[in-house]
């Protein structure tokens, strides 16, 4: 890419970060080596629910190589892990928020709960020593289902949460909904299970903590999606340290999908213990620990109803969900099935009245929190399964019933608290139908039938809300954090640019996309732009990467900082060119006196700023470095149409995804290649949920039955087809990039599209309900039951 290349925007620039990953010199947390480092191993509960009568660590402390053994009793002055979102229930009371100890305090509440930390010279020594710790457990009855946990007589998990209830919360006008249902021509009802998932970033969680006696400070390398929030929560809420005493570095991170947003016990214990042993401590989760202790996703049980008039217009929607929080409230757990779920139940439709009630329970399972999409896939699944079933019930074509209800006037205020700024849902549906060759489906279905196969087509016209904001509104809804982003642009003396962003890239390609934005705006070579992220020691502040927010919020913060850089550059140029500041124009990397050929290149201005010999020192500071914090005025609203085509073998129940089409509106696109890649990955996770993945705990013992890649079905290359991906653009109206976000769309839209296709394929066979995942066993059994 040459200099002065404004056309960088919208180009599939190949990624700047790729060479280090492709040559094996990326630096992930487990690659970090400190002199004299030790290794941690966590002794974990083998029981789902038990009292700890006694822990005897004497043998472990004397074992070879051991430098420290710590239990909950040692963590004097260490608080529990906080939850970042306060939900107020329908009773007007705050949610029940039981303690979330860093190491077990007298009780364990899920298999894998951390009981003791062993630090030794080697991992093997730490493991060997942990084996010699004698824990006297009194095993208690356990409960793993979010519904069972609320039943009378269920085992009581926390004293502070009677009946295992975290909260019952509601949104919407129940009276209006009841009135609309009373006069409906038709009501469609569904019972839905949104299956529990395990995120499974391929890099397991890892941390390396070290302590410096020189200045009584700590450094933590951690596989994490938002290091500043990690630092804030760990220091201010748990360890009682000033933020300035902890530097958090999230270096190359091997995927997150939500699971690395949260403050976990392990890295917190490591930081605390690093001072006690006075040596660096490294911990890397084994995959089995990831299965047991990474925050899981989804796990809703829902009853939903849609009221329609005789023409298929939606009159009202009623949703009741019971949701699983797991054993403890993870960092953002409480907000996911409420603020990020019920607010999305309008979908792309004009449904005038919606009421949702959500009850969250504690169970003897790993904590559940945000996983790619976080609440929005669950909402989309409810809405789009209802719409599909309503179309079937009313014998209306699936595109037609959607079109009769599309929102077409913007801005649009939904009955569930959001205001959509812009969109064009007909455009994405039209394009998706063309791309998917819907017109040819009947012929393909007939051809498949000749081969004895059942073909089905499913739609999902989804909406999501990304870039959660503004902070004051979120605060009123219970958020305990801000939702802005910070960006800093440092122009170096010779005109190269270093960008510090509070967003964090763990696969999203920010080093390239953000560099495109900066190089495009400044008219400089993209090779002269370096993007730095993931280090509280270098970056002013940040709220990190989640909720498809990085470009819309983090990118905009960078743009705001660039605007300041250009404004200052104009002042410098005006001085050098002996012109009025108002007459200076900036374009193509040059500051020019309007209407003349007198100009100064960007690098001349930066050099003047740092070598201020001919410079307006009386009115302007030297240097060229600007910071901006950007707090959006609204969410962004990416939307799109996904169409899935499946073929089912009725003899085996095997569902094959034969085609998947996604036409999305992400607003303006900076790098189409990266956006397509995000859609591919999201769709793969969405199909994974619908076709393959399911976290299962044994109902009796609370043991995790899907605790390895042999038991938990991750999508592999031969489970998936190639996807057809396209975009339509309505620019976001309230950020200067016009960007909406693309990271989660695939995971949000795909499960409903696929399950609608499965139900379409099975309709003629009389099968009415298949829960996710549509495994061969489930499909085959449903077909047998329908025949009987």
């Amino acid at each position: 890419m040459g200099a002065n290349d404004q056309s960088l925007i919208g180009q599939s620039v190949r990624r700047k970060e790729d060479v280090r990953f492709l040559t094996g010199v990326g630096q992930y947390t487990d690659d970090v080596v400190h002199p004299h480092q030790t290794y941690a191993y966590f002794l974990r509960s083998p029981h789902a629910h038990a009292k700890i009568r006694n822990i005897d660590t004497a043998k472990a402390k004397a074992a070879p190589g051991v430098v420290g053994v710590f239990t909950g009793a040692d963590l004097d002055g260490v608080n529990g892990l906080p939850c970042g979102w306060l939900i107020t229930g329908t009773d007007g009371k705050p949610m029940n928020e039981p303690p979330h100890p860093v190491l077990a305090q007298g009780k364990v509440r899920h298999v894998g709960d951390q009981v003791a930390l062993v630090v030794a010279d080697s991992v093997l020594q730490a493991k060997d020593a942990a084996e010699s710790i004698d824990v006297d457990y009194e095993v208690l009855p356990s409960v793993v289902s979010c519904v069972d946990a609320l039943k009378a007589g269920a085992p009581q998990i926390h004293e502070q949460a009677p009946g295992n209830k975290c909260y019952t919360w509601a949104l919407g006008d129940k009276g209006a909904v009841d009135a609309a249902f009373a006069k409906a021509a038709h009501v469609t009802k569904l019972d839905i299970v949104n299956n529990r998932l395990i995120p499974n970033a391929i890099e397991p969680r890892a941390a390396v903590a070290s302590y410096s006696r020189a200045d009584d400070s700590y450094t933590l390398y951690v596989a994490n999606q938002h290091p500043h929030v990690e630092r804030l929560l760990m220091t201010a809420f748990v360890l009682g340290l000033p933020e300035s005493k902890l530097r958090v570095i999230a270096p190359d991170v091997g995927g997150g999908f939500g699971s690395k947003i949260f403050l976990y016990a392990e890295e917190t214990a490591l930081v605390w213990a690093s001072k006690r042993v006075n040596r660096p401590i490294k911990w890397a989760a084994e995959r089995s620990e990831s299965f047991l202790t990474d925050a899981h996703g989804r796990d809703h049980v829902t009853h939903a109803e849609l009221a329609l008039d005789k023409d298929g217009k939606f009159l009202a929607m009623r949703v009741q969900s019971t949701v699983n929080m797991g054993a403890y409230l993870s960092t953002f757990a409480s907000s996911v099935p409420t603020i990020l779920y019920a607010t999305l139940l309008a979908g792309q439709y004009t449904t005038p009245a919606i009421h949702a009630e959500v009850t969250a329970s504690f169970t003897n399972t790993a904590p559940v929190d945000a996983y790619r999409g976080a609440g929005r896939p669950e909402a989309t699944f409810v809405v789009e399964r209802l719409v599909h079933q309503a179309g079937v019930d009313m014998k209306m074509a699936q595109d037609e019933i959607r079109r009769r209800n599309f929102i077409r006037t913007f801005p649009y205020a939904t009955p569930v608290a959001l205001t959509y700024d812009t969109g064009n849902y007909d455009a994405t549906l039209d394009e998706a139908m063309k791309m998917a060759d819907v017109a040819g489906f009947a012929a393909r279905k007939a051809e498949a039938a000749k081969r004895g196969k059942l073909r089905g087509l499913g739609y999902s016209t989804y909406i999501e809300a990304c870039g959660l904001a503004p902070s004051n509104v979120a605060g009123a809804l219970g958020a305990r954090a801000g939702l802005y982003e910070a960006g800093q642009v440092r122009v170096n003396p010779t005109g190269s640019v270093t960008v510090f962003t509070g967003s964090h890239s763990h696969g999203q390609g920010h080093e390239t996309t953000f560099a495109q934005v900066v190089a495009g705006r400044l008219g400089i070579d993209i090779g002269n732009v370096e993007v730095i992220h993931g280090d509280t020691g270098r970056i002013p502040f940040g709220m990190g990467t989640y909720g498809s927010r990085s470009l819309a919020v983090g990118g905009t913060a960078i743009v705001k900082a660039l605007d300041k850089v250009i404004a200052k550059g104009k002042k410098i140029a005006a001085h050098l060119l002996e012109a009025a500041e108002a007459d200076i124009e900036f374009a193509d990397g040059k500051f020019t006196v309007a209407g003349t050929d007198r100009s100064k290149a960007f690098a001349e201005i930066s050099l003047a700023a740092y070598v201020p010999h001919n410079y307006p020192l009386g009115t302007l500071e030297p240097g060229l470095e600007e910071t901006a914090f950007y707090d959006p005025t609204n969410f962004t609203y990416p939307a799109g149409s996904h169409i899935c085509e499946v073929e089912i073998d009725p003899e085996t129940g095997v569902v094959e995804v034969v085609a998947f089409t996604a036409c999305d509106d992400f607003g303006n696109v900076i790098n189409p290649m990266i956006v397509e890649g995000q859609v591919h990955g999201g769709v793969a996770q969405g199909i994974g949920q619908a076709l393959l993945e399911r976290c299962v705990y044994d109902a009796e013992t609370g043991q995790l039955l899907t605790g390895s890649y042999m038991d938990y079905a991750m999508p592999r290359a031969d489970d998936l087809p190639s996807f057809k991906v396209g975009t339509k653009v309505t620019p976001c109206t309230h950020n200067p990039l016009g960007a909406k976000g693309c990271g989660e769309a695939g995971a949000i839209g795909a499960p409903a599209a696929m399950m609608n296709a499965v139900h379409d394929a099975l309709l003629a066979s009389g099968v009415t309900r298949i829960d996710m995942p549509a495994s061969p066993h489930r499909v085959w059994a449903a077909l047998q039951a329908a025949r009987a």
Binding site: S12, R14, R15, E17, D18, V19, R20, F21, L22, T23, G24, V25, G26, Q27, Y28, D30, D31, V33, L124, N200, A201, I202, E203, P204, D252, V253, G254, G255, F257, A284, E286, R287, S288, H506, G507, Q508, G509, M673, I674, E676, G677, H680, G681, G682, V683, A684, Q685, S708, Y709, M710, M714, P715, R716, A717, D718, L720, S722, F723, G746
Partner: protein, 207 residues
């Protein structure tokens, strides 16, 4: 369902009967027997005196000799002893393929064999794939060109598997590529661009 080049890893980790093992596995076991039988230092109980073995092998074209704890896995040896941290550990049960390296030219999962089993072998890791002047191997270049990676964690294993795949199936179609990559998990890309990259890399390797 097992990828033939990676069968050793998947089969042994899972304890699943999977048919014939690739030849390199039995070949690489022989030197360890030699080491054990010739060692006179191995005495006492395991806990008191961990068995150590001497290794002599080639890693990325460099001769390496070392004495390691017999329990050391090949991936641990590469990462901890040789500082070749491009080979990643994603699951430690031979399922994810992030640790895939080439052993005498064939893809193996380095978390699933002992370092001792690589005695006498030629090991190639992701760090050894590019030319000495830094020019990327055609498969590396294809992954970059096709956006076949996102977070990069599975990438080294994926690339090493792809190189082996193309050696065995120079003209593989999409279906074959997808089947052959079944032993390598990627959570980011949905595999589509990886498949493109393997096709493009195969074409470039054929030149």
């Amino acid at each position: 369902m097992l990828h033939d080049g990676l069968a050793a890893g998947a089969a042994t980790s899972a304890g699943v009967a999977t048919g014939a093992l690739p030849s390199h596995r039995s070949r690489s076991i022989l030197p360890i027997r030699n080491v054990q039988s010739s060692s006179t230092a191995v005495t006492g109980r395991f806990e008191e005196s961990p068995l150590s073995v001497q290794l002599s092998l080639s890693v990325n074209g460099r001769a390496v000799t070392a004495t390691v704890d017999a329990r050391t896995l090949l991936v641990e040896f590469l990462r901890n002893e040789l500082a070749l941290t491009g080979t990643h550990v994603g699951c430690d049960t031979g399922q994810c393929g992030a640790c895939t390296v080439l052993l005498d030219g064939r893809a193996v999962k380095a978390c699933n064999m002992l370092a001792a089993q690589a005695n006498g072998a030629k090991v190639m890791t992701i760090e050894g794939l590019a030319a000495a002047d830094g020019t990327l191997h055609p498969m590396q270049a294809a992954f970059k060109e096709c956006h076949g990676l996102q977070c990069g964690f599975c990438t080294p294993g994926m690339v090493m598997s792809a190189v082996d795949l193309v050696e065995r199936h120079p003209k593989a179609d999409e279906k074959t590529i997808r089947e052959q990559l079944e032993g390598n998990l990627c959570r980011c890309t949905g595999y589509q661009n990886i498949v493109h990259a393997v096709q493009q890399g195969a074409a470039a390797m054929a030149k």
